[in-house]
């Protein structure tokens, strides 16, 4: 209890100059996070350079809660690459491996397209609700998952190809999204810490 009253005391004894310093330092933290995120977007060329794996469809390679770093370039997607893509009519992007690819020459333009699929033998189905997703861990290819009439993925569906990997870190965001109360407690505690901290 002594700790709480001490904190209250320090809030009461705040000077206007101190408050300003705190506000500025808080702003610095927020803006530097934003700068890092936007900088990553510039460097990688992907609109979301870091994604968290939400499903177990790529196990044992990628587990739920792992983080993938994406890179987006003009190079065509080739078989074997792990891509993160959006399907028309689905909000959550999907991480899967490409099994077929082709490069079509049409009217002087290149179109890249490919199909994504499966990888391992230990098949386990149903990762996304209502649709059958195919990752390293499932059977068959991903066509069931695509929008009606869509046979191949094309360049514009792609958010990026996975180039880097970091385990477990994504659990922070998963927990915060699924248990918002923890997020509020964390933000509250950090805010209190910033306000009460004496440099």
């Amino acid at each position: 209890m002594g700790w709480v009253s001490e904190s209250m005391e320090s809030i009461r004894s705040l000077q206007i100059r101190q408050v300003l310093t705190q506000v500025v330092s808080l702003g610095m933290i927020v803006t530097s996070a934003l700068i890092i995120w936007k900088g990553l977007m510039c460097v990688t060329g992907s609109e979301s350079p870091v994604v968290v794996v939400l499903s177990g469809s790529m196990e044992p390679g990628f587990k739920r809660g792992d983080i993938l770093f994406l890179h987006m370039s003009k190079d065509p997607i080739r078989a074997g690459e792990i891509v993160v893509f959006n399907v028309d009519g689905r909000e959550i992007p999907i991480v899967h491996r490409v099994i077929k690819s082709g490069k079509a020459v049409a009217h002087g333009e290149f179109h890249f397209f490919f199909s994504v699929t499966v990888v391992a033998d230990q098949g386990k189905r149903a990762i996304f609700p209502q649709v059958t997703a195919e990752g390293d861990n499932n059977f068959g290819d991903d066509r069931l998952l695509y929008a009606h009439g869509q046979l191949w993925l094309q360049q514009h569906h792609i958010m990026g190809r996975a180039v880097g990997f970091l385990p477990y870190v994504g659990w922070v965001t998963i927990i915060m999204t699924e248990k918002p109360i923890i997020k509020y407690i964390l933000i509250g505690a950090l805010g209190l810490l910033v306000i009460t901290s004496k440099e």
Partner: protein
């Protein structure tokens, strides 16, 4: 004196930083590892070669695969994903790639093996490859359909790809061409 919270903050910050540096280090060390992969893949038998109802050619093969991927493993390797792909050219597509067989190697002990497999994914030359709609001045134009019957007598290249999935850090991929094979002229 520094408060408890202040000390805790410093400790946590330092540990996270140290962990980050170690992860980066592990990943950087990986790139010094040179892969000397030996592999031999050959087509033993064409089990089935037919035209599907929709006009696509479909091939089922038996492959003999012998691989030594031990050199791809380092202490930062979680698993190696290995697959055999065929590559071929068609009049409309500069490069078609189709994966025939794939396998996850969990550790170095299992990285050297020889196996006979039928292709896990059928080799299907897909007509729908080219049915890409694209817009010119608000008109949707469907490309001319390329019939997927390009495989008769076609020379295909078999390529072994491997992707090193690390415990942390950068993913590494590489490939070697292993053999080529001529698909028969006649359907079976």
């Amino acid at each position: 004196m520094h408060s408890f919270v202040y000390r805790l903050n410093t400790l946590v910050t330092f540990s996270v930083l140290l962990l980050g540096v170690l992860c980066a280090g592990a990943s950087i060390l990986d790139s010094f590892n040179s892969h000397s992969v030996r592999a031999h893949v050959e087509v033993l038998k064409v089990n089935r070669f037919r035209r599907q109802l929709n006009g696509n050619d479909e091939v089922a093969l038996t492959l003999n695969i012998s691989v030594d991927l031990q050199s791809a493993f380092t202490w930062n390797t979680k698993q190696v994903f290995v697959f055999v792909a065929v590559e071929y050219e068609t009049p409309k597509n500069a490069l078609n790639q189709i994966s025939l067989w794939d396998h996850i190697i969990p550790d170095k002990e299992h990285a050297k093996f020889e196996t006979q497999v039928t292709n896990k994914y059928l080799l299907i030359d897909q007509a729908s490859f080219l049915r890409i709609p694209f817009c010119i001045k608000n008109l949707i134009i469907w490309n001319m359909k390329e019939h997927g019957s390009n495989l008769r007598g076609k020379k295909i290249e078999l390529v072994l790809h491997w992707h090193v999935m690390p415990k942390t850090g950068r993913m590494i991929q590489d490939k070697i061409g292993v053999s080529s094979f001529q698909i028969p002229e006649a359907y079976t």
